[in-house]
């Protein structure tokens, strides 16, 4: 419905012009008719007074000729019995019906009119030129002209107004699409400019907010890492900690903290991008086999190409495997294959499985099932990142309960992302 506002405003303008034009025309017509009616009465009285009733034909003829000359009209006088008794100019037929209608015919030429005198004789006359009041010819033509002028003059004004609104709308759409640095031009001081300025202000605020959020996360993770790096360093420097369970525990906890910091940073980065920066054809089976070798997970299947970011996909596979190892039970198996034209990755464990009631909540950040103790830990960000990464590849992720127990996570890359 682009430009519908323009059409509305413009049509409203034209419609009001039309209403004014019609109203004026009706008004003018009514007034003119009233004037015309008054004039005809006086005209008839004048003619009756000028023409001697029952007088001699010669003086009648002379008077008629005078009148004809004076008013530039054709005049014919009929006796009551229908005989022509005097003529000036061309013969005018005596047709009563015209008598008291309008002075002007619609073609702007005077109509013949007929006046009945006291003795019953008829005077038929036709003015060659318009005569008398009611000279307002064709008010409709004037109105049409005015309407046309206003219509043409209003077009660019209305068009300009709606174009500016359109520019603001397009800017908002680009901004909403993720181009947060988009601003719309602010021209003039009217309402459209005010809307544009308000939008720019709001966009500025939101952009700054998001930017500071991002910077906060980046800085926080850097700040968290500095002490982690020092701690890691100190563990190796401290002679009394050389080898032993306590040292390994410290190192493992440091690694876990570091991984958590990284996951938070990655999650926030994925939150802020709407499109992957670099994608390439990735051999999902090879990538899964690589991670399988790292995590100690058996991998099988057939080679399958997926368009995506190899590092993020590696992350997805690793998180699924680590999740299976941590929350399921061995053996953990991964399988890559084609199903109905889609590339499907399955990671299956043989643990207790996921209760059906849990549903998709297992993909929520830091999900922890009810009744689970603090030390047992939650799911962290692992599966939530899996869902985020899958989403960025147009893929869906779900879990099912396979026959024989355990849990099976299934990632389906649709044909668009999967390349045969």
């Amino acid at each position: 419905m682009r430009g519908s506002l323009f059409v509305k405003i413009y049509l409203t303008l034209l419609a009001s012009l039309a209403v004014v034009a019609i109203a004026s025309a009706v008004f003018v017509r009514v007034v003119q008719d009233r004037d015309a009616a008054g004039w005809t009465t006086r005209r008839d009285a004048f003619i009756a007074a000028m023409l001697p009733v029952g007088g001699d034909p010669a003086s009648l003829q002379a008077t008629v000729e005078h009148l004809s000359k004076a008013f530039d009209a054709d005049i014919t006088v009929y006796a009551p019995d229908g005989r022509v008794i005097a003529v000036a100019g061309r013969l005018v037929p005596a047709h009563e019906p015209f008598g008291r209608r309008r002075l002007m015919a619609d073609d702007d030429r005077p109509r013949p009119f007929v006046v009945r005198l006291d003795d019953g004789s008829l005077v038929a006359a036709r003015l060659r030129l318009p005569f008398g009041p009611g000279g307002g010819r064709f008010p409709l033509a004037y109105l049409a002209l005015i309407a046309a002028v206003i219509g043409v003059a209003a077009y660019p004004v209305v068009r300009h107004l709606t174009r500016r609104l359109e520019a603001v709308r397009q800017g908002m759409e680009r901004w909403g699409g993720g181009a947060l640095d988009t601003r719309v031009p602010v021209k003039g001081g009217d309402e459209v400019a005010a809307v544009a300025a308000s939008f720019n202000h709001a966009a500025e605020q939101v952009e700054r907010l998001l930017e500071s959020h991002r910077a906060l996360l980046a800085n926080a993770s850097h700040e968290l890492r500095s002490p982690l790096a020092r701690l890691r360093m100190a563990v190796d420097l401290e002679k009394s900690l050389k080898k032993g369970a306590a040292r390994e525990e410290i190192i493992r906890n440091l690694a876990e903290l570091d991984a958590l910091v990284e996951e938070i940073l990655l999650a926030s980065r994925l939150d802020h991008i709407d499109r992957l920066e670099r994608t390439e054809p990735v051999d999902l089976l090879a990538l899964t086999a690589e991670e399988g070798a790292r995590c100690g997970v058996a991998v099988g299947g057939e080679p399958a190409m997926v368009e995506g970011d190899a590092k993020l996909l590696t992350r997805l596979v690793r998180n699924l495997m680590q999740n299976a190892l941590r929350h399921g039970a061995p053996p953990v198996e991964a399988h890559v294959g084609h199903e109905n034209g889609a590339v499907v990755l399955r990671v299956r464990d043989h643990g207790p499985g996921i209760p059906a009631a849990t549903g998709d909540r297992v993909f929520e950040p830091f999900y922890r099932p009810e009744g689970r103790s603090e030390t047992a830990g939650g799911w962290g960000l692992g599966l939530s990142l899996v869902r985020q990464i899958a989403g960025h590849h147009g893929a869906g992720v779900r879990h099912e309960a396979p026959a024989g127990g355990g849990a099976c996570f299934v990632v389906t890359f649709p044909t668009a992302a999967a390349k045969a």
Binding site: S221, H222, R225, S226, L228, A229, R230, L231, R232, M233, A234, D236, L237, L254, D258, V261, E262, L265, L266, V282, D283, L285, A286, L287, A289, E290, G292, A293, R294, G296, A298, V299, G300, G301, E302, P303, A310, K311, T314, R315
Partner: protein, 234 residues
């Protein structure tokens, strides 16, 4: 004479510990807190190697690296933030010899530092632009040599061809037939049904633990994959 290592990092407490650790392990170490001070040191021809943090107060580490490279080819090991992949790619493209995400295992830093110094100092180890690098592994087709941590690993000519074929297709599953097509040429019969044997010999040469291979991975029923991301590069 001990190699001198310059640490450029604004985390003074970490630098102090790292310097102590390096000195305990046979290096001479000095630490500065700003890129400007580091650049001045390098301009004086001081260090044999540089450990450069990516976040510095006066300049970002990549800019510092770019300026170092304008005048010097001193080996540089960059300390990056883990999880920021673009940083690492940029770092390598503009001439870092290696990189290590923070927080790092000090022993790993030591090993990598030794490796890049060996690469730079070793007479036979002039860095080849055509070399394939995968973390600690370096495959150099022109000289037909393979190095792990800068140390030469022995391979026969067939095995080297097979390794190059795998490495050039890193991240792709290759069937035994595909592998034979890739290395076929002079020694066709040498590979006759013996790919698996050759792979296990290559593994013995380049894997840290040949029973749990991380570089050449078997995909059951399909073939082999040469790993794209090794040594926790991710």
């Amino acid at each position: 004479m001990a190699d001198q290592v310059l640490i450029v990092d604004d985390d003074r407490r970490l630098s102090a510990m790292l310097a102590r650790y390096l000195e305990e392990n046979g290096f001479e170490a000095a630490a500065v807190e700003t890129a400007t001070a580091g650049l001045a040191d390098i301009a004086r021809g001081g260090p044999d190697a540089v450990v450069l943090d990516v976040m510095l107060p006066d300049m970002d580490g990549f800019e510092a690296l770019r300026r170092i490279r304008q005048t010097s080819d001193v080996p540089v090991l960059m300390l990056t933030a883990r999880g920021d992949e673009t940083d690492r790619i940029v770092g390598l493209e503009i001439g870092a010899d290696d990189y290590l995400p923070k927080p790092f295992n000090p022993r790993e830093l030591l090993a990598r530092l030794k490796a890049i110094l060996r690469r730079r100092n070793g007479p036979a180890a002039a860095p080849s632009p055509r070399a394939l690098r995968f973390g600690r592994l370096e495959i150099d087709p022109p000289s037909r040599s393979v190095r792990l941590d800068g140390q030469e690993r022995p391979l026969t000519s067939h095995q080297f061809d097979l390794l190059v074929a795998l490495a050039e297709n890193a991240g792709r599953t290759l069937s035994r037939e595909q592998l034979m097509d890739l290395v076929k040429g002079e020694q066709l019969e040498a590979f006759d049904r013996s790919i698996d044997v050759h792979v296990s010999r290559i593994r013995a040469a380049i894997e840290d633990d040949a029973r749990h291979p991380r570089r050449i991975i078997t995909v059951r029923g399909v073939g082999y994959v040469f790993a794209r991301f090794q040594d926790d590069e991710r």
